[in-house]
Symmetry: D2
Subunit: 352 residues, 4 copies
C-alpha cells in the first residue's frame, strides 16, 4: 500500500520502451537532435499553437527558471502560501531570480482568488522603489491541496496579473491530473485562460525525468536557453528526455496514466466518505487528505501503508482534525493498484 508520493513510482512501460527504442546510434547533443524536434512539434499539437519548449532536469528547475525569465530587480512573485515554489524548493526560485521575493497569497484550499491576488498586489504600488516591483504570478495546477483551478478562475487571476503587466506562470507538476479532471483541452487550461508560461511535469505521471518549460509567450522564450544553460540544466544527451516524452504522449498514454491515478484517488475518497469519513479538501486530482482517527493511522501504518501525516492549517472547525484525529496526505499514481485501494479501505473500516 504505497501512497507516499507519485514520485515513488518508476517509469511507465511506454516510457521505458521509448527510452530503449531511441537509444541506438549517434544523435546530436544539447537538444539539436531530430527526436527533440519531433517532440516539440507534438507539444504544438497538444497546445493547438506554436509553443517554445525547453527540457530541464526537475520540476523545481522548471518553476524557478520560468520565473527567472520574468525576473526584475526587487521583483515580487505572487503565489499561494502552500505552493511548492514557496514551501518546497529551498529558495531555488529566489536564487534563480537573483533575489526575488515570493509573496504569499492565502486561502484555505490550496487555491487563491483573483480578489486575494489584487489585494496582495496593492501592497506593491507602481513606481515606489522601496517595495520593489510586481514581477509575476504563479499558480499550481493541480494544487498542493489536491484541488484544481477552473479555466474561469485561471482567467480571472490572469486578468489581475495583466492589469499590472506581469505574466501568469502555471506549475504543472500534476498538469495531466488536472487536465483529466477538467475534461477540457490543454489549450483551454493554459494560454486560452491567460497562462504565459508553464512548468509541464511528466515525471510524477510516469516518466523518470521529463520536465519542460513551455512558453506561450514566444517573445519571453527568446533568450531563455541562456537561463537554462546558466542553471546547468541543458542536458548533453537531451534526446533521452525527448524519448521519454515520446513514449509519454504516444497513444495518449499520459492521459491514461493520469486518469488511472485520478480514479484511484476518487475511489479512495468515495470509500472514505461511504464510511462516514471526510477529507480536508475536495479530491479533484490524485492527492487526497483524509482526516482519520490516530488509531486508524497507526493501524494503516502497521499494515504497511506508506502515507504521511499532514499539517492541515486553517481548516474550518467542522472539518479540522479533532484531538484524536490526524490529517493524512495520500498520493496516487499510474502505479497505484486497485488492490491497494481496497486494502486501504478495508483497514480503515476495520472496527475493533
Amino acid at each position: 500500500m504505497n501512497f507516499a508520493s507519485d514520485n515513488w513510482a518508476g517509469a511507465a512501460p511506454a516510457v521505458m520502451s521509448a527510452l530503449s527504442r531511441h537509444n541506438s546510434g549517434f544523435s546530436p547533443a544539447y537538444g539539436t537532435d531530430p527526436l527533440t524536434d519531433n517532440v516539440c512539434r507534438k507539444f504544438n499539437d497538444i497546445f493547438e499553437r506554436e509553443v517554445a519548449v525547453f527540457f530541464v532536469a526537475t520540476g523545481t528547475a522548471a518553476n524557478a527558471l520560468s520565473l527567472a525569465a520574468y525576473s526584475k530587480p526587487g521583483g515580487a512573485i505572487f503565489c499561494h502560501r502552500d505552493s511548492h515554489i514557496q514551501m518546497d524548493e529551498c529558495n531555488c526560485p529566489e536564487f534563480m531570480t537573483s533575489g526575488g521575493k515570493l509573496v504569499s497569497v492565502s486561502s484555505g484550499d490550496g487555491k487563491f482568488t483573483a480578489d486575494a491576488l489584487q489585494e496582495a498586489m496593492a501592497g506593491f504600488p507602481e513606481g515606489v522603489v522601496h517595495q520593489g516591483q510586481v514581477a509575476s504570478v504563479s499558480i499550481s495546477q493541480a494544487t498542493e491541496s489536491g484541488t484544481v483551478y477552473t479555466p474561469e478562475e485561471i482567467a480571472a487571476i490572469s486578468d489581475v496579473a495583466k492589469s499590472r503587466s506581469v505574466p501568469l506562470h502555471m506549475d504543472g507538476a500534476r498538469f495531466a491530473n488536472a487536465l483529466v479532471t477538467l475534461g477540457c483541452t490543454s489549450a483551454e487550461m493554459t494560454w486560452k485562460s491567460g497562462v504565459d508560461v508553464l512548468s509541464f511535469g511528466a515525471t510524477k505521471n510516469g516518466c523518470w525525468c521529463a520536465e519542460a518549460v513551455v512558453f506561450f509567450d514566444l517573445e519571453a522564450a527568446r533568450g531563455f536557453e541562456y537561463f537554462r544553460k546558466r542553471g546547468g540544466h541543458l542536458f548533453s544527451k537531451s534526446r533521452f528526455v525527448a524519448a521519454q516524452f515520446d513514449g509519454y504522449f504516444e497513444n495518449d498514454n499520459w492521459l491514461e496514466t493520469a486518469g488511472h491515478a485520478n480514479n484511484m484517488a476518487s475511489r479512495l475518497a468515495a470509500g472514505i466518505l461511504a464510511q462516514g469519513g471526510r477529507t480536508a479538501w475536495a479530491v479533484e486530482a490524485n492527492e487526497l487528505f483524509p482526516i482519520v482517527k490516530r488509531s486508524q493511522f497507526e493501524k494503516l501504518e502497521a499494515a504497511g501503508a506508506k502515507l504521511y501525516e499532514w499539517p492541515a492549517k486553517d481548516l474550518t472547525p467542522n472539518i479540522a482534525p479533532a484531538e484524536d484525529e490526524v490529517c493524512l496526505r495520500m498520493v496516487t499514481s499510474f502505479a497505484t493498484s486497485e488492490a491497494d485501494v481496497e486494502t486501504f479501505l478495508k483497514v480503515l473500516s476495520d472496527e475493533e
Copy 2:
C-alpha cells in the same frame, strides 16, 4: 564515421539494462532509496575511502556546484584558459558562486603548471580587498586538449592551492578515459594527489545522464545538499541515476568503455602519424586534434565524417596549421567502431 563528440552516443548496453532492471516497484524519492545507498558504497570502494556523493543533472552543474561549495565573496577561481568552466558553461560557475571570477591560467596543451598557477595567484594578495580573494583551483582530467595530468602534476598544483588554503577541484567529465590512460587507481588520481572535490562524469562514457559531485573533503560536503537543491538539481526519481551508475560500475564496465574509446583514439593517432601527419597535442585520452590539409577535411566531410574544425591557438610554429591546413577535433567513445577508424584513415590517405 561519427567523431563529433562522445555525447552523441547513446547509453551503453549495461546501463540501459540496469535502467530497466531497477524500474519496477516503489522506491523513496530524492535520493533516499536503497539503490542510491548501494551505489554510494560502490563509490567508497572505488576511491578506497569514504566519500560524499551527490548526483546532479549535468557536468556543468557538477562543476559549478562544486565551486559554489567553496565560494567566497569576491572569489577568484583559477582554471585553464580553455577549460570547460571558463569557455563552455554560459557563466554557470559565475552564477552558482554568486559572482565568482574565473581567472585563466594559460599554457598551450590544455594543462597548466604549478608554477603558472603560483604566478597567477600572486596577483591576488592575501588581505587586499580590491582584488578579492583566492577561492579555489580547478583542473580538467582529461583536459579539453585531450591531454592528461600525471598524479605528480596534480599534487604539485594541489600544493600551490593549499599554500593559499583553497581546495583543488577536478572536472572529471572524462575521468575514466584519463584513469585508463594513467593506469593508476582512482584514489591516486584524486585525493591521494590532493584533489578535494571531483565532478565525476559518466554521461560521455556510456550513461545518458549520470553525473556526480564527489567530495573527499567531507567537511565541505556538509550543507552541499542545499546548494544542489537550490540549483534545482535534486532529482525526485533519483534512483534512475543510481541505476545508471549501477550498470556503469558493474563488472568494471566503465573501464572497458573508456578503454575502448582510448584505443580508438590511439589507433587514429597512430594511423595519422604513420601517414606522415601530426596532431596538435599528444593524444592521451579519447580526443585528438589532427592537423590536415583543408582538401582532406573536405574529403572527410564528403565521406560523411562528423568532426569539427578547431581554433587551435598558441601552437608552436612547427605544429601550427599552415595556410592550407586546418586543425580538427575528433572524439571517440564506447560507440566508436573499428570500421569507422579504418574508413577515416583510408579517406585521409587517399592520394589524388
Copy 3:
C-alpha cells in the same frame, strides 16, 4: 510642521562641524586612515568590548550585508512582517544573501515574541532539504511601529535563535532612540542580550550618511570586508564617514539628539491623549501613529503639516480607525521644534 520622516532633516551642527574639521590634508583611502581607527576605538568604548566596525552607505546596505555574512543556500531569515528588511528594501536582503527567503513572524505591535519565532522556525526542520535551512533572525530596534524591545525580550529571541545555531541581527536604524528610551547601556541592548551583529544607524539621528555594521561575533566579521566591497559599499574617502561619527559621538551628542526626538514624540503623544485621542501603538521612541478624524487630517495638511496616512493593520477593534478616522505616521528628529509640536496639537484641538 514637518513630521514626514527623520531622514528629511539635515545634519546636526556637531556633525557638520566635524566634517569641516577633518577635511584638510591627505589621508589614506578605503578606511585605512587614522580617523577611522579612532572612531572604531570609540565604538569599542561605547559597547564596552572589542567590536568590528564597517561603514556602509545606507541602512539598507547595513541590513542586507549583515544578513549576507550569515547566508546559506536555501537560507530562511526570520523577521517581523512589517520590518524594513521585509517591506522597504526592494529585495536588497534577498539579493545580497543570494536568494535568502525572509520569513515573516507576526504580531500586532511591530515586535514579535520568542514563542512566535519558535513556531515559525518549526516549519523549517533541521536536515530537510526542501524547506531550506534556518539562517538568521532579525529584529528592529526601535521597530517600525515605534515600539522598543526590552533586553529581556531580545534575550529570549536570541535564545531561540541560538537553539538553532543561528545569529541574531538587530536593525538599529533608530538605535539611539531605543537606547535613550530604555536607559540601559549599548552593551546591554545588544551583545549582552545576545545580539551578534548590528546595523548601527546614525543618519536618521543627525548625520547625513553614517551607517555601520557592527559585529560582536568577531569570527563572522572576518571576511566581511569582501562582502562590503562586493556590494560596492567601501567608500574611497572613507574618512568622511568617520568624521560624521566623530561629531556624532562627541560629547554624547547622539544621545542628546535622540533624547530630543523622543521628547518631541512623547509630548505629541501626551497632547493627543490629553485631548482624548489615541495612538495605534505605544509611543516608545520617535515615531507615533495617532488615529484622528479624517477631517482633522485634512486640517493638519491644510496647515502645512507633513505626515503620512498609514495602513495600520491588525489593530484590535477598540483601537482600529473608525470609518471616519485615519491612522497617521509621524516621525520626530533632532530637528523637530517645540513650536511645531505646539502648532500640531493646537490644530488638532481646534473645534469648529
Copy 4:
C-alpha cells in the same frame, strides 16, 4: 609630497561650502528633493540633452550597476585587462550582474582598439549557448594607465558594440581629467561618440562622495532605480550628494580642479623627461608612471613621497624597467601643490 592617489585628498572648498549651504531645513528623502532636481537639470546642460541621472555611493557601484542594467544570463562584458572593473572591484560587477563574465581585451597602454574588441567578441558567436552571450562593452576614461581615448577611438569601439547590439559603458572615474585633456565637450566625449551609459565620478576630483550613473539610453534607465535600491545604493538624505555636485559644477569648478591636477601631472612628466627620464605610458590625464632607478625610489620615499611601485606589464623592451629600475604610479589631484612637484623633481635630480 603626496602622490598616492587622488582619493587621498579631501573635498574641494566649493564642495564643502555647498554641503554647508544646503544643510538647513527639511527636505524630502530618497532623491525627491528640489536640489536633486536642480542638479539633474545641470547634468542635462552639461551633456546638451536629456539624461537620466542616478546618484550612488561609490565608483565601483556606479560601474557594477551600470553593467547590471544591461546584464543577461551568461553575459560577457568586454573590458580592458587592467580596467578597474576587472582588477579592483572584488567581483562587484560579476555579483551585480548575477554572474557576468568580464572578458579581458588587451593592449599595452590601458586602451583597447576596436579591432581587438572585434576579435575578442568573435569568440562569442551569436546563438551559441555554451559561450553565453555578448552583453556590454566597458572602457575607462581616463584609463588605468593614465591615457585617454579620443572621441574617434570611442566611436570605433561603440560601432563594434553596436554591431552586436550591446551598449558601451564608460567608467568615468576620472571623467573631468580626460575631458580637460581632450578639450572637447562632455557630449562629444560620450553620447556623440556612442556611449550609452556613464559612471560619472566626482569623488576623485574634489568631492567626498559624489558618483552618478548617467544614462544617455533613456529606455535602459527605466527600471534602473530598482537596481540601485536592490544594491543598497539609494541614499535617504540624498540631497547631500546633490549638494556636492552643486558645488562641483558651480562656476566650472570641476574643470578647474581637473585642469590643476592635469597640469601638475604634465609638469612632473616634463620634468622627468627633461632629466632624461621616461614614463611607461603617455601622460594624458592626472596619472603618471615614471620609470626610475630603485635608488631614486628609495630616495623619494626617504624624502616622504607617497607613491607606489607598479607592476608595469607588457612594456616594449626599450621602455620596460631595467634590472635596477622600478615603475612608479603617481596620481595628482586638485590638492597637489606646485611645491610638491618641485620637491619631487628636485629629489629625483639629486646626483650623488
